[in-house]
Symmetry: C2
Subunit: 217 residues, 2 copies
Amino acid sequence: MDFSQIELFDGISAASCTDMLVCFGAEFDSFRTGEVVCDYSDDPKRRVGIMRTGRASMIRIDESGNETLLEEVEEGDIFGEVLCFGDGGDYVKLICDEDCDVVFLKYDQITKRCEKACEHHSRLVANLFELMAKKTLSLGERIQLLSRRTTREKLMYYFRLESARRGGEFTLPMSHTRLAEYLCVDRSAMVRELKRLTDDGLVRVDGKKIRLTQAEF
Amino acid sequence: MDFSQIELFDGISAASCTDMLVCFGAEFDSFRTGEVVCDYSDDPKRRVGIMRTGRASMIRIDESGNETLLEEVEEGDIFGEVLCFGDGGDYVKLICDEDCDVVFLKYDQITKRCEKACEHHSRLVANLFELMAKKTLSLGERIQLLSRRTTREKLMYYFRLESARRGGEFTLPMSHTRLAEYLCVDRSAMVRELKRLTDDGLVRVDGKKIRLTQAEF
DNA sequence: TCCGTTTTGTTGCATTTGCAACAGATACCT
DNA sequence: AGGTATCTGTTGCAAATGCAACAAAACGGA
């Protein structure tokens, strides 16, 4: 097993990694596109997952069958019901968008002091801290997005963010249908608003290609 | 200075605490109700704050002057622009709801390996990890709330959560005006929906006293 | 290539929502 | 007690939104 590429184990020797895997109850697993990585309705495993490669979507399905895209889990991201989306009552699952490799750690073993006093235990916790900080940032960003009141504002906020991140013209990383779920608005209403935005000359939309008009800057 | 009551320093001797304060560039500060704890528009200090006592509200004000309550920071919570609500572009500030005591740490010093090799450095990072996990949970909850599409769903989700936490009948921890900002909906629209909910017999509302009707269970 | 599934574009309609405005109630400070 | 600021309850109205439905286009697997 090659640990060198895994951010989680950054700064920790391969030998230590192997040792520590036992302490943390580490489990490695792989999933194929479309498979369910975790099902948080009946999964009291208290595990923390780290996405090594691939992408997955945290999806909530409420009693009416509405699907909501809670978050996108990407390479290097940390996830888990202990961390997030704990108890809402609805059905929550993590579903694979692309084949992915995952490491699971037992949450309780992380904060517990290690009896074996592995020398790098603390380094791993520090790494986890950074992963958490990154996650917190992305959750905060999501809150900023969802706290916009209108579909228009949500779209513009999202576009500005992606535009700043990926460059002036960028390609949506998901389908329009999915984007509507992400923004938590009705798809048809979103498409309507998208048309208004283009009519007002604020954006150019061509399928998944989006470009903000300079008027915005 | 008494460190024993501060969760952040849990498991760390007073002597070590004093040592470490230097490593982390710790600053203690107090604020009075109404004062601005942090102003994230022009504050590139990269500090992490821990609320020792008191309560504060993270508020965003957009260019139109709309206020949004991003999060409630309570005793023991961790906060900071490095962690959350980083860059949206709008004006974001943390404002004191009750007199509060705060510790600030320099974010970069936390993850950096300590040259002085303070023995408890790693314990503190572990404590921070737990604080972060707690924060992540509350952010996740907030996302669950904001991802509801209608005002009715937001209200009911919020009431169920508070009801489970504080008991069958509970008192809103904020004014109706503030609640509307928290749910990110128009206040008058919220009041209207609140009335419909009572008409439908789902809740009883008496000022800040809320009770879910058993029909819900 | 063919077939089934998903996505997209579109529309009508009832409902919800944001917005603005105002008066009365309440809380807060001096 | 008086005065100011905030909160609450309410309304009308225009606009946005959710919902349902359907056909065409695109996609993906056998």
